[in-house]
Symmetry: C2
């Protein structure tokens, strides 16, 4: 077996070097074996695991959710109901966040459009911020 350094692992998985060490420190990744000079030596399986974590993080899953997903992955005979539930919960979160951001976007657009590019005392941006009652879109 060729030894995979932490730098290689980082490059291949797309996770930064300090983040790899961080994941090890919180027990998301098993501590790898070490070289004679005390340097980490990873296995290909570790790269896959790191890629899994990275992808899940990109999808916005929290570390604790990922921890659960990883234990599910480690034991393929389990029911995937938990994985399904976690993904569904995340989907609901994302949908809510999108709705909220759309309302936000509308309000920011109104603010920016209303700005006459003059002085602050006529600025709609400042004005709207100061007076929530001027919000056209009920969101927050």
């Amino acid at each position: 077996m060729k030894k995979i350094t932490i730098g290689e692992a980082a490059r291949q998985s797309g996770v930064k070097v300090p983040t790899v060490r961080y994941y090890e420190s919180i027990g998301l990744l098993a501590a790898p074996s070490r070289s004679e000079g005390n340097q980490r030596s990873f296995e290909p399986a570790d790269i896959s695991r790191l890629a899994f974590i990275r992808h899940a993080r990109e999808l916005g899953f929290e570390i604790e959710a990922i921890r659960t997903l990883l234990t599910l992955q480690d034991d393929p005979h389990q029911s995937c109901a938990s994985a399904d539930a976690i993904a569904k919960a995340r989907l609901v979160e994302v949908e809510q966040r999108i709705r909220s951001l759309m309302a936000l976007k509308a309000e920011l657009e109104t603010m920016v459009e209303g700005c006459g590019h003059g002085r602050v005392d006529q600025c709609r941006v400042i004005e709207v911020l100061a007076d929530h009652g001027q919000c056209t879109h009920p969101h927050h």
Copy 2:
């Protein structure tokens, strides 16, 4: 003048009591005068300022952006170009975030739909997470 306690200020502005103290500590809100017994005594203007901050936070502006917006509000003769720029930048951020979340939503939906509710080794949720190449939507 009637004295406004921190609790009243919090209730009227919708900012929590510890958060009001936090805003004071970071200099976003001027330190108010104190009662004989060392308790904070706010002015109506402080309530407006807190409401402004809260609204801006709800719109996702960062504290440093709010600090700038507040100094602009404090001097109404300035050009509102900065306020305009800050709001526009925030708008761009929000639009980007929405796009990214939409892609995410699509991917999560594919994952959840593909789940046969069986065992983990057939679970599309786990599978897609493990292999980024299966992503139908190029986003991250």
